[in-house]
Every structure is written in C-alpha cells, then in structure tokens.
Amino acid sequence: MAINLNDPAVQLRELRLKTLTGYNGDAQDLLKRSKEGNIDNHERSFTQYGSCSADQVMNLLLQLQDAVVVEHGPAGCSGDIPFRNANFRLGNKLLGLKVHNVKYINTNLDEKDTIYGGSAKLEKAVREAFRRFKPKAIFVTTTCTSAIIGDDVGSICDELEDELKIPVVATVCEGFRTNIWATGFDAANHSILRKIVKPPRKKQPDLINVISFTHRYHYESIFEQIGLRPNYIVPFSSIEQLEHISEAAATVQYCETLGSYLAAGLEEYYGVPEVKAPAPFGIAASDNYLREIGRMFDKEKEVEKVIKSENEKIAPKLEELRKELTGKTAFIGAGGPLAYSIRSILKDLGMDVVGSCIWHHDQRFDNDDSRLDVLKFEVEQHGNFKVGVCNKQSFEVVNALNKFRPDIFISRHMATVWSAKLGIPSLLSLVEPSEMLYDGLIRYGELILDTITNPAFINNIAKHSKLPYTNWWLEQDTYSFLGGKCNG
C-alpha cells in the first residue's frame, strides 16, 4: 500500500494493516481468514487500560540525541517521561555514548486553554524548547485534549519552521485516534520520512539500516563477518544520521510492527529495499534471513560460511539446553509478530507453546510481501498453535494463564507480575534484542533455564498474594467479553 507523505497525519494502522485487537483461535485459521479477507475486529464490553499512540511516539522520537519533543497537552500526558528518560540514559550507557537527559517540554494545558485554545502556549513552548535545548529538530505531538479543542498544530509548526530554520514537525497521535497503540510507531516514522530523511547524496553499498529499540547484541559479529556496516535507528540516532538513511543499501527489522512503515517508506521513496525475510529469531529464520541478505548483497558464499560456523558454534550448548528444556511448556504474551518469533526460539529449544495472548495482530505489513509474514513462516516451520489476540488486557491474560498453567510465561510490557501471583515463573522479553540470531538463541535458552530453575521467589509470592479477580471470572471463557458477548 502506498505511503502518503503529503498528509501530516499518518493513516491509521487499523485501516492500513487491518490490525486485530480481538480474536480467539489458532494460527492456521488466522492466516487462512486473513488471506480471504474475512476477519472483523471485535469490541470488548469490559476493558482495562492499555497504552496509547502518543506514548509509543515517545518510544522513538524522544530517544533521539539532538531533537526535542514538545507535547501539546495537559501535564498528565507527560507521565511516561521519567520512564523514557531512564531508558534513554540506560541505552546511552550500554552503547557507550554520553549519558544525558531527554529533551521534552509539555505545554501543560489547563481549563482555560480548553475554552480559549492553546495555540499561544504552543508557540511559546516551541520557541522556549529551541532556546533551552538548541535542537536540530522539534517534533510537536498532539494529545486527546489538543485534538478535541482543535488547535491547528500543523499550521503553527509550519510557521515556526520558517522562523526557527530547523524542522518543526507536527506529529498527529492523540490517544483516542486509534485503537492500536502501535500506530504511534507509524506516526513517529511518518514524521521522520516526511521531514527529516533527505534524498541520498551517494548510496553506501555496505550500509544496512537496522530498525530496533536498543540495538545492543544486534547483529554485531555477524555483520562484521559478512563485511556489512549496521546503521542502528531510530532510538539513539542523531538527526543527521536519520537524514542519510536513504543512502543505505537495505533495511532490516527487529520487529515488523515497529518498523514496517519506515522500511516501506524508504523502499518506496528512496529505493532502499527492505530485506524480505522474517526477523532472525531461531535457527530457520536466522538461516533464511542471512541467505536473503547474501542474495541481495552478492555475498552468498560468505553468508553460507557464517551460517555453517555459527550453527556449529552453538551446537554443543544447544544440545545441553534441549536436554533440560524439551517438553517444557510456555505461554507467550507479546505483540505480534514478535510473539511468533518468540515461538520459533522456544520450538528450537524443544519447548511447546501451549497458548498465546497476542497484544495485536497485523494482518499485513506496509510492504505487502508474503515473505515478511512471520506467522506464516513460523507455522510452516513448526506447525499450528493456539492464538488469542487480547490487546494487553490483563483479565484475559490471567484467565488464560490460569487455564493453561505453563511451566513459564514469556511476556513483554508489564504482565509478568500476574503470572507470578499464579505461581508461574515468568520472564520479561526485553526490548534489547538479545535473542536474535544464533548466540541469541543460546542466551535466551539460558535465561529461560535460569528462570525456571529457582522458582522460590515466585512460589512465595503466589502463596502470599491473591489475584484481584472473582472466582466467577476465572471460570469463564477467556474471550467472554469480546464481541459484546457477556456471560452471567
């Protein structure tokens, strides 16, 4: 589908990628019906809070080295900022870069502003941001309040851009705009494509854009062996670095949900091809992925050498891990397609995935190429498995975990505590891509093994705490409140 860079607002993910937030079934059914185009999304008659797209924009834009984010909203919208700051400082430290604070201003809209408008405040805030931080770019993000009161953020940004002579980029991402908080990634990437990326000065044939969150462990030794240079984006990049991502020879991803829009935009507008292979989690995907890179860069021979040597290197440890982990069961709670990638790893370790709660499922990606379909690849490698799409609703996750009682619950984004209360060891699968490629597989296996070897902490918590759910709820069907149905 074409990426439209003329509109300041990115097209919603539910429209572009037909993303689902509610589904109960299995992978094969999901794939079949997606292909036929006959799955509808469903609403719930009971929900708990999840996240919003404005929050996810900060995941990218607020992690840039020399840009400011001016959030046009009330002070509460800045609630995620201490977390983003801690993340930024930690990420910089791990990458060996200078540790400093994020650059962020919130316009602190109050009751008066909701009546008279907040435009004057926004202009003042942007000028103040420029004065305080001397950034190379300013991103102005919208919030529920700013959107409802109707401040014309786009025009204000255009005027200020003329005045300040740096990009001042309106980023439309108010929380109520979309049901899919991952649209926030798209909104951020849309701003970058629209206003930051410049046409290539000269193509760099050994440079690969690598889209991920915190970059550590990422392809380092592998790329070196093939003679390629990774260009890690978007978090921790500088504006200058982003200006020249059009010069790369290819783009790869940690997770298609994160960078689908950016990769497709680079391909469409600057001829930077996305590597059409699922992210390299587990052996099959890693082999497949490296072969695709080998094909694109005319390095097929080098790649085969790498594949062979890496597989040999991990073989003894993999054997040990398989001895301990074969037959152990896992339940995954993560966003698609990362959840499907995690399944690959678990299957390689000999484990069974008894069920999953997916935060959201994108039925297609911006580059509409079936070679990018992680779920399809995973089912081809390891067969069918149960899939539920729960949109991060803890009541559904707890209900499912209680029924499946796996040996381990692998989760992303703050769900591990509920599993602990059920006495089920749980592991937070971090944003640091330490589980990719071959040594990543071993690292992950060791992490899983350590997690289940000493369950003392978990057992004690389970003994001394209670879940906040009624017994009635725990006995119901996990998706009872999906599609407006409701028992009792």
Binding site: Q48, A75, G175, W418
Partner: protein, 438 residues
C-alpha cells in the same frame, strides 16, 4: 496561564487514581483514553520508588479506553457496561470512577450513571478529574471529596481519642506507606487512636470510621486542607492543621506537644514518649558525631526541589537539627496562589533567625537554571528527584532523590518521618557522600 513543564515532577488530576488504589481493596475505574492509566501509574508509581501493581493496580485497572467513537457520540453507555462488568470480574470492596480529559470536555454525564449504581446500594463514587483541571495533588483532594460527599455517613457516636490522619499524597510520595504508619505509631504511643485510610489492610473499614473520629489531623502545608474543612462542615469534626511533616526530634517534639494539647493528652505522657525517642535518636547522632563533624565531608549547604510537604519537612530537619544552611528552596507541586504566603512564612522561621528563599515553579528547567546561578560555598547537597542527577554533576553537588520521580531507588518500608525516619535520612545523605569517593 500555567507554566510549560520541562522535567515533570507531578502529573494531572487523573493521577488521583493512585489515591483510590492506596485504599486497600479499592479500585478506580477510568473513563478516559487508553494511555492515561499507564502513563500516570508509571510516573507516580512504577518509576517512582518502584511502586508496582499491587493488588488491583497497574493494568488490572478498568478503563473505557475512550476512542474516536466515544469522543464524537459520547461514552456514557461504554462507561455503564464497563462498571457493570467490573462488579462481576473484580474482587474488591470499593469503586471510584474517575474521568479523563476526553469525557470532561465532551461532557459525558458520569454522575448520572454512577448514581444509578449508588441507588442500588453499590459501594461506588465518582469524581471529575479531567487532566487539564490541575495536578494530581488536586486530584488527590478530589477523590477524598467524592468519598466525603457520596459515601461517608454520620457516625452513631464519636470515639474519644480517634483521630484520622491526612498527610502525604500516596504514590506521589514513594515513602507514603511507612510515613503514615510512623505517624500512627507515635500517636498510639501518646495514647491516641489513629485511623489511617491509606495503606495495606485499612480499606473500607477505615473509611467507615472516619466520621466517628474526635478530630482530623492534617499534616501538610496545603494539600488536604479543603478536605478537613469539608469534614468539619459536613460532620462537625474539628481539625488540627499542622503544616510541617515532622522529621527529626525538633519538629517531632513540637508536633507531639501541640497535638497533645489539642487532644487533651497528659503532659507527662507526651514528655516521656519524647524523652524515650530522643534518647535513642541522640545515642546514634552522638556516636556518629565524630565522623559528621571531623571529616568535614558533610555538605554545609543544601537545596531542596520537591513538593511543599517535603521541602518544608526536610529543610527544617537539616537546618534545625543537623545545623546545615538552607539555600533557595524550590516548591514544584503547583501550589495555589491562596496558600503561597503562609507557606513562605514557614521558611522564615528556622532556628537562630535563619531564613530561606522559596521559589514556586513546576518548570524543572527553570528551577535548574536558577540553581546554576547560586554561588555555593563548598559542594552543595541537592535533595530533589532523579532529574537532578545531571545538574548535580554539572555543579559538583551531591544528589539524592527524595521526590517524584524517584526513578533511581527502590523504596519499600522506608520513611523519613519521625525520629527513626530522620536517622534514615542522615544515613542516606552521609552514605551518599562517602560513596562519592570510595
């Protein structure tokens, strides 16, 4: 016009959701967008002393996740079904419905819906806490107002010596749990019966006792004043407003004597409690005096950057008890204009005629610029939040996080209040200094 915020040190009024969660077995229900809950819990909970979900917090909090449909067509029906289903799904004793910006601007009649459930006898109240209305200090007061207006009933009879404690804002202050417990412990010792609403185990039983109290104690410069006044109007319960959270023997002694007079506690009883605690406190201070005095490492001058409760409490202790010298003190909780004068006065009556300047601002960037202008003698002690780390490096100061965001510490049952609390503060400050070079 409220100032722009650079370096957030508070959130918005919907942050009152954590006040609801601070009452045991109570759950807030949000009628708001999908992002509010996580951001607010993150800022004043998870990334503030590592205060996680607990029993029914974090992602187990129900929320209507108001989307475009609710903004255009209204969200009342969605709220109704969310509440109905919350009763079925959650095992809690009390529900507090809170609104976000979208509902308040769009004008959903939340009161009407909640009243339907109240009329059925359900334990539920509501407050309109749209974020643009103010800070979470204001939101905290709104939640308590809602409970006073819609839930509390007059007591059959008053209980002599029963006193409700209203003080620090739960979660916003990561030391809240033990702080309430410490005050409670001291009041018990002088023969009073404290009633705390916030913290583990108290819950709806504590709420039900509120109107039986002989008096209310407000231990805070301004947050909560409207609540105790309201309790007096509605239930005839008098209140004692003691504006300084007591840290250390000078203030704690003063506090105990004042409340004893107010409550009619025997002078001897109070003095013996004070003496016991002072003996213990001074044993340790005396023992550490050599080090504190002779190594000349303890910083002489300090700034605090915190809400009005902590700037006042900490600066009093450091000045009146430890003999340090206060530079400018920065208050960042968005104090309403009507309270500013009386708060400023408190900073003019330290021991020995010492005074300190106070700056009210919730713009962290501005506060830090002001601090950079101060010409410190020696390395300053900076008691603020994690935002101050960068500043401390720049000006070669010692930095400790004691106010939101305390994102760099795990706080469990620690408090700085009272006698023991003060010793904890001395330990933390001095260990920080020692750690700097060893």
């Amino acid at each position: 016009m409220s100032q722009i915020v650079d370096q957030i040190r508070h959130v918005c009024s919907l942050g009152g959701l954590q006040t609801a969660l601070a009452i045991s077995r109570t759950v807030p229900i949000l009628h708001a967008g999908p992002g509010c809950g996580q951001k607010l819990w993150g800022a004043i909970g998870l990334d503030n002393g590592c205060q996680g979900s607990g029993y029914v917090g974090g992602h187990s909090v129900p929320c209507t996740n108001a989307g475009e449909k609710e903004v255009i067509f209204g969200g009342e029906e969605k709220l109704r079904t969310t509440i109905e289903n919350a009763f079925k799904i959650l095992d809690v004793d009390f529900f507090v419905v809170l609104t976000g910006c979208t509902s308040d601007i769009v004008g959903d009649d939340v009161g009407e819906i909640v009243r339907e459930f109240q009329n059925e006898g359900k334990p539920i109240v509501y407050a309109e806490t749209g974020g643009f209305k103010g800070t979470n200090f204001y939101g905290h007061e709104l939640v308590i107002e809602a409970i006073i207006d819609q839930y509390l009933k007059p007591a059959k009879k008053k209980e002599k010596g029963l006193v409700n404690i209203w003080s620090v804002v739960p979660f916003q202050d990561p030391f809240w749990v033990e702080t309430y417990k410490e005050i409670s412990k001291l009041l018990n010792e002088i023969g009073l019966t404290p009633n705390i609403i916030f913290g583990p185990n108290n819950g709806i039983e504590a709420l039900d006792r509120v109107t039986a109290a002989e008096f209310n104690l407000l231990l805070s410069p301004w947050v909560g004043l409207k609540n105790v006044k309201h309790l007096e109007e509605k239930f005839g319960t008098p209140y004692l407003h003691y504006p300084v959270l007591p840290i250390g023997p000078t203030e704690t002694g003063k506090f105990l004597r004042e409340i004893a007079v107010f409550a009619g506690v025997e002078n001897e009883k109070v003095e013996s409690v004070i003496r016991k605690h002072e003996d213990e406190y001074y044993y340790y201070i005396e023992r550490s005096a050599d080090v504190l005095l002779e190594t000349r490492l303890l910083p002489r001058r300090f700034v605090t950057i915190a809400d009005s409760i902590y700037t006042l409490a900490i600066s009093k202790f450091l000045t009146n008890d430890l003999g340090l010298l206060p530079e400018t003190q920065f208050i960042v909780d968005g104090v309403l204009d009507e309270y500013k004068d009386q708060i400023e006065k408190e900073f003019k009556n330290y021991t020995d005629g010492i005074t300190a300047d106070v700056v009210f601002s919730n713009d962290g960037g501005y506060v830090q610029d002001e601090i950079r202008k101060i010409k410190f003698r020696g390395r300053p002690l900076i008691l603020g939040s994690a935002w101050e780390k960068v500043l401390a490096e720049e000006i070669n100061g010692y930095q400790i996080s004691i106010a939101m965001p305390v994102s760099d510490r795990l706080i469990l049952n620690k408090t700085y209040a009272g006698y023991d609390g003060a010793l904890r503060l001395v330990e933390d400050v001095y260990s920080l200094v020692l750690n700097d070079f060893q």
